[in-house]
């Protein structure tokens, strides 16, 4: 990106500082998206300055930067939107987490998505625990019909669990099928998260 040259050092410093803040605010984006946003901001500043070239350059610069607003706020929506696009295109968990975190404040649906993502993390942890403690991890059932999917401590209480809390020592029914079942559930939740994100993105466009 070609930087704009200013007549005074102070104007140059103000401009450089603003562009630097824009770089920081867009650092989460892909290189292509980031360059696109930065080029457009730079172009806007240049066009504004050119259209007001008869006025004091520093004052004009301050005016355009004031109109653009603080990059951390102004670019928030654009960055969040572009990040969802990147997450749904790449299926990359890193982009997915970033997109969820960026949009967490935008509505209840993102809180639901975030809870789903916590479940998404829980299942791989349970798979690892199953390998370490095969007898204490699984789908445990009790005679009264309650169940626990997860880790059960030797005393029969506590641990990571998905299901009813604090069941007495029950019978494990999945055995070695626990790992493929957990893996399948994790994949289904992941597909569900991506699907919900796509729905949200579509609704946002509407």
């Amino acid at each position: 990106m070609k930087a704009i040259s200013f007549d005074t050092q102070s104007a140059q410093r103000v401009y450089n500082d603003y562009i630097q803040r824009c770089r920081k605010a867009t650092s989460i984006l892909s290189a292509k998206d980031r360059e696109d946003v930065l080029l457009e901001i730079n172009s806007h500043i240049y066009e504004y300055l050119s259209a007001n070239s008869t006025k004091d350059q520093m004052e004009t610069l301050l005016n355009v930067l004031e109109r653009l607003g603080a990059p951390e706020e102004t670019l928030k929506e654009m960055v969040a939107f572009k990040k969802i696009g990147q997450a749904t295109l790449t299926y990359n968990p890193k982009h997915l987490i970033q997109a969820l975190a960026l949009n967490l404040t935008n509505g209840v649906i993102y809180i639901i998505l975030f809870v789903l993502f916590l479940f998404e993390i829980a299942f791989p942890i349970l798979i690892i625990l199953k390998l370490i403690y095969p007898d204490q991890v699984g789908l445990f059932t009790r005679s009264n019909g309650t169940f626990l999917y997860g880790y059960l401590s030797k005393s029969g209480s506590g641990g990571i669990s998905i299901g009813f809390s604090n069941p007495a020592k029950g019978t494990e029914i999945l055995g070695s099928w626990f790992i493929p079942v957990s893996l399948l559930i994790a994949v289904l939740i992941y597909i569900g998260i991506i699907f919900l994100l796509k729905v949200v993105k579509k609704n946002k466009k509407k």
Binding site: K2, I4, D36, L39, E40, N42, S43, H44, Y46, E47, Y48, S50, A51, R67, L68, G69, E73, T74, E77, M78, F81, K82, G85, K204, K205
Partner: protein
């Protein structure tokens, strides 16, 4: 005192409504301008100001342009300039033109109802 309070409330309500209406109509204005020519961001802001008497903020326009482009209603291309600082020109797509026609029809119906 109560009457003054009510007047302030009403003024605030009308101002909020104006703001919401302007925001709602903004995609229509963007499409209407781009129907005749391609524009870059700064140019669009100026044209909206002249054509519709609305001073749209950069923080409102640019995210909108990103959304409309992602939806396929606008296309864009970078054009090099003698200054070395390129311009990002936006154009309306075929889908955008269809959307514009539908929006104009609907807006026309609403305004007709209002004026009846």
């Amino acid at each position: 005192m109560y009457i003054v309070y009510l007047c302030i409330m009403k003024t605030e309500f009308i101002e909020n409504w104006h703001s919401q209406l302007r925001k709602g109509l903004l995609p229509l204005f963007v499409f209407m301008i781009l129907e005749n020519k391609k524009c870059y961001g700064y140019e669009l802001i100026q044209d909206i100001k002249v054509g519709f008497d609305i001073d749209v903020g950069e923080g409102t326009l640019y995210p909108l342009l990103v959304r409309l482009a992602k939806e396929g209603l606008l296309t864009h291309q970078w054009e090099e300039q003698p200054s070395g600082i390129p311009r990002k020109y936006y154009s309306i797509s075929i889908e955008g033109k269809s959307a514009l026609a539908a929006m104009k029809t609907y807006a026309g119906l609403i305004f007709k109802k209002i004026n009846e």
